[in-house]
Amino acid sequence: MTASVVRIEDKLYQNRYLVDAGRPHIKVRQHQSPSPNLLALTVVCPAKCYEVNEDGQVEVIADGCMECGTCRVLCEESGDIDWSYPRGGFGVLFKFG
């Protein structure tokens, strides 16, 4: 309870996922430098799916995605990301919800 740094990996480890290998349901469009909203996702995504790579571009690894839609609400309209639901049965499987 005293840890000052929150490790998101520890939280997501509790969850059950069925990852659709090779078919990510979110894609980041090609960009030179990220828009403010896209950059915000590196902090605001509750599963920390978004990270800045060495070239300063935002990447997504959607394996831990909880399908909340925050990134869609912030970035789909501007065209920063393509958002779909995973195929039926795949993705997060809440035990309690």
């Binding site: 939280k11 509790q14 403010p36 509750p46 839609g69 925050t70 609400v73 639901y85 997060v92």
Partner: protein, 435 residues
């Protein structure tokens, strides 16, 4: 399967979808319900509190076998600053009634139960099936759906969009827009497991009595937001939600916010020793009445969170979802029984019925609240809570200062923080928005 034609297709097996499917199937309609999760509930997240009356209207004897956690006898409203909470507790033995008014539930379990009722009523429920697109005819009327399973269009007279706050079908068909960041809150939640006796002891409960804490204040760091703690039988649901636009503006991380809430000196002892078994995130519609989209069209209606039917002031969502699903089902069944087509004109019956219900009456009452709380969030969620804590501490701490000086200090702090004009203006705007 694709050769069959259905009276109605329901997209989604959450509260609104199950209510709609149950209502129509139990009135003899041929209903297909499609759910993308492995089982109904596997994609659904809620706090979660169930309001008995709205479910009772649909399934009167639900208490016989529904998975209910605790019935609520106590509600605590807390205003927090960093080290304190100032609170109002309401506890009444009246809530220990034979047919209790409110329960805590665990959605994955509850939704499985609700879905069994839907099947028993005669609907076909198909899980692990994502609806990818609505099928429209040349005139723009919805005639069915495409799914990610093999096969073509599945045809139906009407499609009930119960696809949740983040539903893609209605937005892709341009029936409504993607919710704006200022009209949805992101909530994160953890399930903390503790023995039943420990929960009972910590909250002063016996048997299946339950307690709710809802907290606002500096825990949301100036964002419009709310923290909550709900007692289940052997677990505690702990979460916090704030507007997505405020998250993006402040660059606060949701899990850091949740951890800070967990470590608040008023919350930490209630969770001590618990084992965390799940972490979930979900959007909550917060735009209120003004964010409600078009609710019906040729061959379709939209219900529940997808229609932004959520009362943020009273934190009621699933009961509006259930009620809108039921009413949509009743309207469709009525149109069907008259052998009328599912045109936009005829389906306007759904909106007319919803207008007469508490759903739209309540949302209309609070139509100005989102704008007030969302644009003045720092005052309402940081400044006032801090002042309230100072005032309470001034009142309680005995240190030889004459009381008249303490009162003057409290008043001066209020005026310094918000000015006389600011205080009056906040009070008036709050009163008007509440009216």
């Amino acid at each position: 399967m694709t050769e069959e034609r259905f009276d109605a297709i329901v997209v989604g097996a959450g509260m609104s979808g199950n209510a709609a499917a149950y209502t129509m199937a139990s009135r003899g309609l041929k209903v297909l319900q499609l759910e993308r999760g492995e089982y109904p509930g596997s994609k659904n997240v809620q706090g979660a509190i169930l309001y008995a009356n709205m479910l009772e209207t649909i399934i009167p004897d639900f208490r016989d076998d529904a998975p209910l956690e605790r019935h609520l006898v106590e509600q605590r409203f807390w205003v927090t600053d960093d080290t304190s909470h100032t609170g109002m507790h309401y506890r009444s033995d009246d809530f220990n009634e034979p047919a209790p008014n409110r329960y805590t539930i665990i959605r994955a379990q509850f939704d499985k139960w609700f879905s069994r009722k839907v099947r028993a009523a005669g609907a076909i429920v198909l899980c692990e099936t994502t609806v990818t697109e609505l099928a429209l005819d040349a005139a723009g009327k919805v005639i069915g759906v495409h799914t990610d399973r093999a096969g073509g269009v599945i045809h139906a007279d009407v499609v009930v969009l119960a696809e949740g706050v983040n539903g893609l079908l209605g937005t892709r068909a341009r029936f409504r827009k993607v919710p704006k960041p200022e009209a949805v809150a992101l909530a994160v939640k953890e399930m903390h497991f503790l023995p039943e006796e420990v929960i009972n002891e910590r909250f002063g409960l016996t048997g299946d009595q339950g307690c709710v804490i809802e907290a606002a204040g500096t825990i949301s760091r100036g964002m419009a937001g709310l923290g909550f703690l709900y007692t289940n039988k052997e677990s505690i649901s702990l979460g916090i939600g704030c507007l997505v636009s405020h998250f993006a503006a402040t660059l606060e991380s949701p899990y850091a916010l949740l951890d800070a809430f967990k470590n608040h000196p008023s919350i930490r002892p209630l969770l001590a020793g618990s084992e965390i078994k799940e972490y979930a995130a979900h959007l909550i519609p917060e735009g209120g009445f003004k964010a409600i989209p078009q609710l019906f069209g040729d061959g379709w209606v939209v219900v529940g969170d997808a229609a932004q039917l959520n009362n943020a002031v009273h934190r009621e969502g699933s009961n509006l979802a259930m009620t809108s699903g039921r009413i949509a089902g009743e309207a469709i069944a009525a149109i069907k029984s008259r052998k009328h087509p599912m045109t936009s004109d005829n389906l306007s019956l759904y909106k007319a019925m919803l207008d007469k219900s508490f759903v739209l009456k309540d949302l209309r009452k609070y139509k100005d609240m989102p704008a007030l709380l969302h644009t003045n969030s720092h005052n309402f969620f940081t400044t006032y809570p801090q002042l309230m804590s100072q005032a309470a501490q001034n009142f309680v701490r005995v240190d030889g200062t004459p009381k008249i000086e303490k009162e003057r200090a409290t008043t001066a702090a209020l005026i310094k923080a918000r000015s006389r004009w600011g205080l009056v203006s906040d009070a008036v705007r709050l009163a008007l928005a509440w009216r």
